[in-house]
């Protein structure tokens, strides 16, 4: 259920940007989603295909760039990328003192639009 309102948010942000650019049709939405944000890529595209029907974004593809989360061991300085579930100890020294940073961003980086179809004829922005 989480992905549905998230996808609505993506659509709203993308449509607003497309309208500001003159009502061009959206062909691609570039997203940055953190590794720890518990978002399933396939679900986003699935909901998007339904929610975007009849809008300027209908048929657009979603390109999701994952922002990694990084752990830094405070004992040995080892750094590595982590995902869920987090491991309880450092893979290098087996110590327990490390910090996890990043991996929680969540934004529309850019949209790509079709220049030749700036009228947006036949498409209207949804509420």
């Amino acid at each position: 259920m989480h992905e549905l309102p998230v996808t609505q948010g993506i659509l709203d942000v993308a449509l607003t940007a497309a309208q500001q650019a003159g009502g061009c049709r959206i062909t691609r939405i570039n997203l940055v989603i953190g590794e720890l944000s518990s978002i399933v890529d396939e679900s986003i595209q699935f909901y998007f295909d339904i929610l975007s029907r009849g809008t300027l974004a209908e048929g657009a593809c979603m390109a999701i760039q994952r922002e990694p989360a990084q752990a830094t061991c405070q004992d040995c300085g080892f750094q590595w990328n982590v995902s869920i579930p987090l491991v309880p100890s450092c893979p290098s020294c087996q110590g327990h003192r490390f910090q996890v940073t990043g991996g929680r961003t969540f934004y529309v980086e850019s949209i790509e639009v079709n220049d030749e179809d700036s009228s947006g004829e036949g498409y209207s922005e949804r509420e």
Partner: protein, 216 residues
């Protein structure tokens, strides 16, 4: 043609959350967003805390549930003003839901508002409501591995309450491992062990809460 956007996906929700916060601040109400998995003891924690609050801090509650008014009825039975939000299957509360519920609360008569979120360790952490603090309630029977599996939730916490500590031996709960897991993503967050059934630790957490209300 590529058009740069760089806008938070949930910015529309964040905007309403900021408006909620303005309403809370104007009414001098301190708001805690209470998040936990189902059955961790969110309602029990609210009721146990209510018993320890000083008389000058009057409490109101917003109850978020997928369905039913079981929790809201439990709160109302203690003469605490309560508004029920049924999300109709949605797994979390969002800022517009709170905005609507606010009109049914006597904001000028309360100083503290608990918003009990839907039981879920994933989605609620992503949706700001306009609260002053996020309270994450974990409980012993869930196991000490939860911070490793749901880092987003524990990273969002301003305080973590570890409930049902009377069951630590029964469930062979490793408190140190739990604390380490929380510390990975949220090194400074205070962790208060409590037991809503016996009342153990509830006074210490309430004292922390009251200090933060007064400091706000």
């Amino acid at each position: 043609m590529k058009i740069p956007v760089v806008k938070d996906i949930l910015s529309a929700n964040d905007q309403v959350a900021a408006e909620n916060r303005t309403v809370f601040d104007a009414a001098n109400v301190f708001v805690a967003n209470v998040m936990a998995s189902p059955g961790a003891g969110k309602t029990s924690m609210i009721l146990a805390t209510a018993k320890h609050l000083p008389p000058e801090i009057r409490l109101g509650v917003i109850e978020g549930d997928v369905a039913s008014s079981i929790d809201a009825d439990a709160i109302a039975a203690h003469d605490i003003p309560v508004v029920q939000i049924n999300t109709g299957g949605n797994c979390h509360l969002d800022a517009p839901m709170i905005s609507k519920a606010l009109t049914h609360l006597p904001l000028t008569e309360i100083q503290l508002l608990f918003i009990e979120n839907v039981g879920n360790l994933i989605c609620p952490a992503g949706f700001a409501l306009g609260a002053n603090i996020a309270v994450v309630v974990a409980s012993v029977p869930e196991g000490h591995d939860k911070p490793y599996k749901y880092p987003g939730m524990f990273a969002s916490a301003d305080i973590v309450l570890l409930n049902k500590i009377d069951l630590i031996d029964v469930f062979e709960f490793d408190v140190l491992d739990f604390r380490r897991g929380v510390g990975l993503v949220n090194p400074e967050v205070p962790i208060f062990p409590i037991c809503c059934r016996t009342g153990e630790g509830v006074d210490a957490w309430t004292e922390w809460l009251v200090e933060h209300i007064h400091a706000d």
